[in-house]
Amino acid sequence: MKNLIALTCLTLLAGCGSAGNWGWYVIDPTTPKGWSNISFLLDGFGATILLSVIAAVFSMVIGLLVALPGMSANRWIRLPSRIYIEFIRAIPLLPMLFWVFYGLPVVLQSMGISVRIDAFWGAVITLALSDSAFTAEIYRSGIQSIARGQTEAAKTIGLTYTQTMRYVILPQAIRRILPPLANQFIYIVKMSAFASVIGMQELTRRANELVVTEYRPLEIYTLLILEYLVLVLVISFFVRWLERKMGADESR
């Protein structure tokens, strides 16, 4: 961690010192122009975070709905869930994003449903679907790690399947599910950069637009990477805190 910071600082300092190659003026906060460029870039944070959070919430809900039938004793109930997971996992994010943004409205139109999918919701749908296959697997491993005896005991005291899940299994599984789920959120944040290609005004899109007008890709993309770094580090710290808290609870 310290080395990384030192290396970053050195690179930046080297750039500032030498003539020519680096031109930090483009994002120099002391000049009006630099400052307006910086605020333009930083304004992307809101969209990136909003997109990631909403996509993550949908992914968590879809993942659970896919995971639960995926653990059924009946293979015909299990099958659709397996197919969904294998299918979704096989599709690269970018083609899926294109399909949802450009293709899905056409499909819906042919079914008589006329909706416009804007860049934000196109990205939310794609990220949520793509991620849900992974969250489903996280749920499955978390729930299956709860001993079968718990389900049996719940059955013998007359609880229904839904009651067993709600009062017995999920409260225990959540401790094992939350940390990997929060980790998965980092993946969503990074993948949200793809939303730039369908025109969503998030961090990456704004960097691209500024590069086009300012012709300083090195400085602007360096700042862009730092923006993601800060975001992911904050989430990382939160995940570690969560893991420690959950670990402490477990041993009680």
């Binding site: 005896g149 005991a153 013998t156």
Partner: protein, 252 residues
Amino acid sequence: MAEQADTDQTNAIEIKGLNKWYGDFHALKDVNLNVAHGERIVICGPSGSGKSTLIRCVNSLETHDSGSIVVDGTTMGNAASIEAIRSEVGMVFQQFNLFPHLTILQNLTLGPMKARGLSRKDAEARAMKYLERVQIPEQAGKKPGALSGGQQQRVAIARSLCMEPKIMLFDEPTSALDPEMISEVLDVIVDLAESGMTMIVVTHEMGFARRAADRMVFMDHGQIVETGTPEAFFSNPQTERCRTFLNQILKH
């Protein structure tokens, strides 16, 4: 009470021609067993002989492949009949299977409140009544992890009793306990036996069998090999397999 060949309304449990396979393994072979109301049965036999599988079939924790099970007049079949049977039958497991995330009191009130619709007040009153019966009311606020094995198993018994079942099944209730805790659990089960509860107990505790059983059932290789009163069973076993088994477990 030794032999009930006829099947009439006096039987709490009637098992006829029961067969179960695990893949190619024939776990239960044409098992017939009738249990009268108020009768206490102890099932013993070598490990892998099908004892646990048999009692797990009685409340449908295991499915059977052929034959019939009638519990208190209800023939096991569809989901409704299984629900009806489970509401009459309590079960205590070798591994206790208490819910580790809930307090002792919550472990006991969960079934009555969610499956029976009792108010919290009534459920807690009932829970305390049965905790007193197993002599650990002072542990009500603790989590299962804070209790000794013997205490946990007594809580598990109380949890079953809170559903006020007519029949209790015990699946090796003392096999996971340290030796010094076995008697505190057996005392509770004997007390229950003396109150007239219909019980099937799978156990190797032959002292307990002598004290509490009306009838012994010896199983080997998925079959009931021998049944009889404890006196006849221990003093004069009829089959070679039973003699060998008794010699092995009574030696020490």
